[in-house]
């Protein structure tokens, strides 16, 4: 996946932000928080998983997704979001 494939999708960025904030969530809950349907959310998560950016654990019928902290791409995105939001706060103040 090219970098523009992540940054050009609002939804993908939002999924990464949510997982960064919350830590771990199931697909339905991510979809609910984003106001989109299950299928779309699942599709994006699968793409991220293929990239090694997220991983999931299965508990019966429940799948809990979290960021793969050991992925350098995740570290880079996390760093970018942090710096970006910090800068936004400083502008607001």
């Amino acid at each position: 996946m090219n970098i523009e494939d992540v940054f050009s999708s609002r939804l993908r960025m939002k999924i990464l932000k949510i997982l960064m904030q919350v830590g771990e969530l199931n697909v339905s809950e991510i979809a609910r928080r984003l106001g989109v349907n299950y299928k779309t959310t699942n599709k994006h998560l699968e793409v991220f998983e293929d990239e090694g950016m997220v991983k999931h654990k299965v508990f019966g019928r429940i799948r809990l997704y979290r960021l793969n902290e050991s992925s350098p791409k995740v570290k880079a995105v996390e760093n970018l979001i942090e710096v970006w939001e910090h800068a936004n706060k400083q502008i607001d103040n």
């Binding site: 830590g23 771990e24 969530l25 199931n26 809950e29 508990f59 019966g60 019928r61 429940i62």
Partner: protein, 396 residues
Amino acid sequence: MSYRSIFKDETKLDINYVPYRLPHRDRELRLLMEFFSFLLRAPEKMTQRVMITGDVGTGKTALSQRFGANITSEANKRGTNLRYIHINCREYRGSLFLILHHIVSIFHPNFPRRGYSAEELLGILLQVLDEQRAHIILTLDEFESLVNREGSEAVYKLTRLQEIRLNKPQRISLICILRSLKVIEQLDASARSTLQSNIIHLDTYYRQQLMDILNNRVSLAFKPLTVPEDTVSLTAELAFSEGGNARFGIELLWRAGKYADAEDLDTVTPECVRKAASSIYAVMRKSDVALLRLHEKLFLLAIARFFKESEKAYASLTEAEQDYAVVCEEFDVQPHSHTQLWKYLHTLSAIGILKTEVSATGSRGRSTLISLPRIPAYELEKELSILLRKEKLGRL
């Protein structure tokens, strides 16, 4: 404006505070440690089930939580991933599903609330514990609530879960806290048999034991020399009359401290305890006082004045008699005899306005001690003065 308080640390009187030392529960604490000592040696080999019974305020919750803190700290030192989880079943409406969901949420905070049964959730919990190589001591406080809602099935599931995972490490030990074993009788024989092996019953506290508990909390929560012995003694007396309820006594102590602070006092007086008690109990029933006979009222007025003017928690019958003579003079009536007063004392005690006890401390035999545990002396004096003035006017 400067604010001064007689409290050193009022959180030490909070219902959720678990003291490091539990007076008069050392034996039970050691027993719990014995029951669960395997968790320090071979945690994967077995699990344990213990029931703790006892009336309200006998220290069931505090005992269990103290034990939990002690054993987890010891286990963690030895490299065992042991967690103590204390759940009040009533908070979860006695639902096994909600209780299990809460436990899973400790490990996975955003675990979804829907989409599976309690049984599946139990399996998920074991999976989580296996993954983390963790062991838990699960304390189900107010266990009655779970039994009443879920019956034998839930208890059976909780106690027999290891049987469906043969040759796998054992993970969940149980402590069930309940008032009496009566509720267990509702369960079917197989569920009952899994529970009733280890029972620790906590007897209600004696007055002296309550004194020790309260003194212990006083030293933790109040500044030095701000709570006189008489205040502790009266609080213990009240807690004792509430069925040996230590929790009640501790709460009363906190309230009394608040009254002392509100009035900017240097010490928590017995009167503060009486005020605190009257805010907890039903307020004094004015009709009870109004129905008393003239000399009963006069005698009670004398006692109320004694407590209002002194900072003592107890009055001797002799002291009450002396003040009664003064009151009779004030109201222009002839005092009744000692024997009559003795009878009045019994009446007032039976109604619940006063409390009497026999002291054997004097070298010259026993004397009767009177206390006014529930009603603030100033309120009682005010009420009686109004009634007696009306009666005096009626006589003129």
